[in-house]
C-alpha cells in the first residue's frame, strides 16, 4: 500500500517535472519562432515603406528632370541643364533600385514595367528636347513639350506611381496588422507560459511539502516502532532470563533432592552388603559344623569357603549388589554433573584482560603428560587477547584440548593446532586436530548433555562439550564444529573481544 503511494507520488513528480520542461521548451521555441516572425513582418513593413519612398524619390527625380528641362528651354541657362542632367542620371538607378525592391510582388512588377516604359518614353522626350535646344531650335523643343503634355506621359507616370504607392500602402496596412498580430501572439504566449510555469511550481511545492510531511510521519512511526521493538526485546530477554533462572533453580533442586534418596540407597546397600557377608559367613559356618562337633568359634567362620549352591547364592547376591552399586555410582556422577553445570551457570563472570596465548600455553603445560602419552604435539599460534572471564576461558580451552588429546587416532602421532584471528570486534579461535573425527550426523549430538559420539572406548560422562558450549554462550559467543570421520576435527569458537559484564549482571 505504502509502496503504491510512493510510486504514485514519484510518478506525479516526474510528470510535473516533465510538464514544466515541456512548457518551457514550447515557450522558448514559440518565442523564438514568433520573434523571428515579428522580425520578418517588421522587415516587410520596412520594405513597404522603402518601396514607397523609392517610388516617391523616382517621381521627384522625374519632376526635377522636367522642371530642369523646362527651365533650360526657357532660359538656355547652363545651371538648368546641369540640374536636368543630374536628375536624368539619377532616374535610371532609382528605377533599377525600385525594380530590385519590387521583385517579390508580381502586381508591382507589372506596374514597374508600365512605369519604366513611361519613364523611358519621357527620358527619350527629354533627350530630344535637349537635343533641339542644343541645336538652337527651341520651337521644336516646345512643340515636343506640348506633344509630351498631350501624350500624357507624365500623367501616366504619376498615376502608375500613385497606384504603386496605394498598393504599397495596402501592403503596409496588411503587414502592420501581421506584425502586430505576431507581437501580440508572442506576448500572450510568454504570459501564458509563465503562468503555467508558476502553476507547475506551486503544484511542485505542494507535492514536495506533502512528501516531506509523509516522510516526517514515517520517521516518527519508525522511531515509535524502534522504541517498541526495544521494549519488546527487553521484555523477551527478561522473560528468557527468568525462564533460564527457573530452569537452573529447577535443575539444582531436582539434582539436590535426588541425591538424598541416593545416599540412603547407597548407604543401605552397603549395609546390606555387610549383612550379606555376615549371613553367608554364618551359613558357611553352619554347614561346616559337624553334627557332634564343637561349638562354632566366632571369627573362624569367615575363613571357611562356601561350597555348592551356597557359593552360587553368595555370588548371585554379590553380583546383584555390584550392579546396584555401579548404577548408583553412575547416577551420582550424572547428578554431580548437573549440579556442577547449574553451579557454573550461576557463577558471576569477572571480565578481565586475558593474554589468551599465555592462558592456553599454561593449559597445554598442565596437559603435557597426557599429550606425551598420546604422542601428540600441540602448537599454539599467536592469538588475539580478549576481555573475558578467566576461569570460563580456562574451562573452555582445557576441555577442548583435553578432548583433542583424548580422541586422537591410535597409532598416529597427534597434531593439535590452536589458531586465532579477529573479525568485527570478535576473536575467533580455531582448535584443529588430526584425530578420529566426528561423523557429521553427530555434530549436534556431541554438544548435548550426557551424549557422546563414536567408539565409546574412553572414560567420560558426555559433559565437557555441553559445558563448553554453555560457557561460550554465556560469554556472548558462538561455537561450531567441522569434522569428518577419520579426518580430524576443528572446533571454532567466536568470542566478543570485549565482554561486558553489565549486559549480564541482570542474569543473576
Amino acid at each position: 500500500m505504502r509502496a503504491e503511494a510512493q510510486r504514485r507520488r514519484a510518478f506525479w513528480q516526474i510528470l510535473l517535472f516533465s510538464a514544466g520542461l515541456l512548457v518551457l521548451t514550447v515557450i522558448s521555441a514559440g518565442s523564438v519562432y514568433l520573434v523571428n516572425k515579428a522580425r520578418s513582418d517588421n522587415k516587410w513593413v520596412l520594405h513597404t515603406i522603402e518601396v514607397e519612398n523609392q517610388v516617391n524619390a523616382l517621381l521627384l527625380e522625374v519632376r526635377r528632370a522636367e522642371s530642369g528641362a523646362r527651365g533650360y528651354l526657357l532660359t538656355q541657362g547652363a545651371d538648368f541643364k546641369i540640374d536636368h542632367d543630374k536628375a536624368v542620371a539619377a532616374i535610371i538607378p532609382a528605377l533599377d533600385r525600385l525594380t530590385r525592391l519590387s521583385t517579390d510582388n508580381p502586381a508591382q512588377r507589372d506596374n514597374i514595367e508600365k512605369l519604366s516604359v513611361a519613364i523611358e518614353t519621357r527620358l527619350d522626350q527629354f533627350a530630344r528636347e535637349m537635343e533641339f535646344v542644343r541645336q538652337g531650335q527651341p520651337e521644336k523643343a516646345m512643340a515636343l513639350v506640348r506633344e509630351a503634355a498631350t501624350a500624357d506621359t507624365t500623367t501616366t507616370i504619376s498615376s502608375v506611381a500613385s497606384t504603386m504607392i496605394r498598393e504599397e500602402e495596402r501592403l503596409f496596412y496588411l503587414r502592420s496588422v501581421n506584425a502586430d498580430h505576431s507581437q501580440t501572439l508572442a506576448a500572450s504566449m510568454t504570459g501564458i507560459g509563465s503562468g503555467l510555469v508558476v502553476v507547475l511550481v506551486l503544484i511542485s511545492i505542494w507535492l514536495v511539502r506533502r512528501s516531506a510531511r509523509s516522510r516526517d510521519d514515517a520517521e516518527a512511526r519508525l522511531r515509535d516502532a524502534n522504541v517498541n521493538l526495544e521494549t519488546i526485546v527487553d521484555e523477551r530477554t527478561a522473560d528468557l532470563r527468568e525462564a533460564n533462572n527457573e530452569i537452573q533453580r529447577f535443575a539444582y533442586i531436582v539434582s539436590h533432592d535426588l541425591r538424598s534418596p541416593l545416599v540412603n540407597i547407597m548407604g543401605f546397600t552397603s549395609e546390606l552388603e555387610e549383612l550379606g557377608g555376615d549371613i553367608f559367613r554364618r551359613v558357611s559356618g553352619l554347614t561346616h559344623v559337624p553334627a557332634d562337633g564343637p561349638q562354632l568359634v566366632p571369627g573362624a567362620a569367615g575363613n571357611i569357603p562356601l561350597e555348592g549352591p551356597d557359593k552360587q547364592l553368595s555370588e548371585d547376591f554379590s553380583e546383584a549388589l555390584g550392579f546396584i552399586k555401579s548404577s548408583i555410582a553412575k547416577m551420582d556422577r550424572l547428578i554431580s554433573a548437573i549440579l556442577n553445570l547449574t553451579r557454573e551457570g550461576r557463577r558471576e563472570f569477572q571480565p578481565e584482560r586475558i593474554d589468551t596465548r599465555e592462558l592456553i600455553e599454561a593449559i597445554v603445560s598442565t596437559l603435557a603428560h597426557q599429550a606425551a602419552e598420546a604422542q601428540a604435539e600441540i602448537h599454539v599460534e599467536p592469538l588475539p587477547d580478549v576481555v573475558s572471564d578467566r576461569l570460563a576461558l580456562e574451562q573452555i580451552f582445557s576441555n577442548l584440548i583435553d578432548n583433542a588429546i583424548k580422541y586422537l587416532k591410535s597409532g598416529v602421532p597427534g597434531e593439535i593446532r590452536i589458531r586465532g584471528r579477529t573479525k568485527l570486534g570478535y576473536a575467533i579461535f580455531e582448535l584443529s586436530d588430526n584425530g578420529r573425527g566426528i561423523d557429521p550426523r553427530d555434530h549436534q549430538r556431541i554438544f548435548d548433555l550426557f551424549r557422546r559420539a563414536g567408539t565409546q572406548d574412553k572414560p567420560g560422562q558426555g559433559i565437557g562439550l555441553a559445558h563448553v558450549r554453555a560457557l561460550v554462550r554465556r560469554l556472548g559467543g558462538t561455537m561450531s564444529v567441522s569434522s569428518e570421520l577419520n579426518a580430524g576435527s576443528t572446533f571454532t569458537i567466536t568470542l566478543p573481544m570485549n565482554w561486558n559484564a553489565s549486559n549480564r549482571k541482570t542474569d543473576q
Partner: protein, 146 residues
C-alpha cells in the same frame, strides 16, 4: 566436671539419620543421640519454649545439622545457634548432600565447626562419621556460658 556430651541430630531423612547413627555407634561412641526430623522441634528443644536457649545452659551439646529441612533451612538454625550465648560454644557439624563451595564457605562463616558432605560413596561417608566419633572423644566440653 565431666559431663557426657549429648548429640543433637537434626536430620529430616530417616534413612540418613539411621545411617549416621549406625556409623557413630560403630565408631564406638555411645553418647546419647537425640534425633529431630524437622527444624521446629529441634529449635524448641534447643531454645526452649521461651526461645532464649536458657534451658540448655551448661549442657554439653554436639549438633549434627542437615541443611535441607522441610520447614526451615539449616543455615537459619546454624545462625541462631551461633548467635545464642548459651549455645554458641557448642560444636556444630553440618551434614549436607551438596559440596557447593559457596554453601560450605557460608557455613564456615556462620561458625560451623565441621562440614561433612553426604557422599554417595558410602565408605568415605562412614569414615568421616567414624572420624567424627574420634573427634567426639577428644572434644573439650566448652565451659558453660554464664
Amino acid at each position: 566436671m565431666t559431663q557426657p556430651v549429648t548429640i543433637i541430630m537434626i536430620e529430616d531423612d530417616e534413612g540418613h539419620a539411621r545411617l549416621i547413627e549406625r556409623n557413630i555407634r560403630r565408631s564406638g561412641v555411645n553418647n546419647e543421640i537425640i534425633a529431630f526430623g524437622n527444624g521446629t522441634d529441634a529449635m524448641m528443644h534447643l531454645f526452649g519454649a521461651d526461645g532464649t536457649g536458657l534451658k540448655q545452659k551448661g549442657n554439653a551439646l554436639l549438633i549434627l545439622l542437615d541443611l535441607n529441612l522441610p520447614d526451615m533451612t539449616g543455615i537459619d538454625i546454624l545462625k541462631q545457634i551461633k548467635e545464642n550465648k548459651y549455645l554458641k560454644a557448642s560444636p556444630v557439624v553440618v551434614l549436607t548432600t551438596t559440596d557447593d563451595s559457596q554453601e560450605i564457605k557460608r557455613c564456615y562463616e556462620l561458625g560451623c565447626n565441621v562440614y561433612i558432605t553426604k557422599p554417595v560413596n558410602y565408605e568415605n561417608f562412614a569414615n568421616a562419621i567414624r572420624q567424627l566419633g574420634l573427634f567426639f572423644s577428644v572434644i573439650q566440653v566448652p565451659p558453660a556460658a554464664t
